[in-house]
Homo-oligomer: 179 residues x 2
């Protein structure tokens, strides 16, 4: 076995900064949002994803893709948000083990009230630090990594279809079974 | 109240990419590391922080700063890692409510075995996507945000001192009480 190809000093700075800055910015925004609205950053991410989906409705695997969470974490998150009335579960017409998550009226109210505060915090903690050249550079880095992740990903295996129970552009997939 | 200053299309791309790319890269590395070593990314982050500290020992608030986690999450994490024998708790000489977390021999073994795999994944999922100009740009963005976060942070309030129970450069602070 060859020796590990450890990161050099410049790579360490880039990698550790990539992790630490992201965590710090998310942490500051999350704490302010929680204090002001009672929503955690996880609540907010789910509400945003649903609010942008047709009919405020997504299958669980779609939320999972958006948030890149482990399935167990997302399942618990949805259970808690359902108990608080922010989202509801709807059965999947074609797949008795599948499910949709849909935004409730209380969920819409919560995201509508929180979004203006959230964007203020994003500007304060993130964009206020950056010049236009930083923003352009960041977009380039993000897109280079995204292309790489997509090209290096395993292909998705085929699975059972599921039509939405109301109109909307919802593709089918597996791995979205709620307990 | 003025209208929210919503992000424009370019800012959206930068902000959403900042969140999504980070989550995706961390997710891929975490899943591989978990499969290969049984360590979660949270385990790994704690082990790395401790392994780099003098004597493999930190007060809890120092781990918290490194990982930018909520206190409850870190407390649970340390409880689980203690039960698995990866870290141990040591009382704080000057503060009966304070505590150190220290790497055990099993913890050293775990991080020593995992680190070469981890760096391989970081190269595969992250650096393989980037040219030198991307790395430089990322460092600049990270450092601009870091400077801004530091200048915008609230000053730390004074609190009770705590000397390390063995030699090492451990500063004092509050907010590191274990249950």
């Amino acid at each position: 076995m060859t020796d590990p190809n450890w990161l050099d000093e410049r790579e360490q700075r880039a990698w550790r900064g990539f992790l630490a800055v992201n965590a710090a910015v998310r942490g500051r925004i999350a704490r302010q949002l929680q204090q002001e609205t009672g929503l955690s950053s996880a609540d907010y991410a789910v509400l945003v994803s649903l609010s942008e989906a047709p009919g405020g409705r997504l299958r669980v695997f779609q939320l999972r893709v958006a948030a890149d969470w482990e399935k167990t974490r997302l399942t618990h998150q949805i259970t808690r948000m359902t108990a608080r009335g922010l989202v509801a579960r709807e059965p999947c017409a074609d797949d008795p083990r599948g499910a949709f998550v849909v935004l409730t009226e209380a969920g819409w109210d919560a995201i509508t009230a929180a979004a203006p505060r959230h964007v203020e915090h994003v500007r304060h903690w993130f964009f206020d630090a950056l010049g236009p050249e930083h923003v352009d550079a960041l977009i380039e880095v993000n897109e280079a990594v995204t292309r790489h992740l997509l090209s290096a990903s395993e292909p998705c295996s085929p699975c059972s279809p599921c039509s939405p129970s109301s109109p909307g552009d919802v593709p089918s997939s597996c791995d979205d079974v709620l307990p």
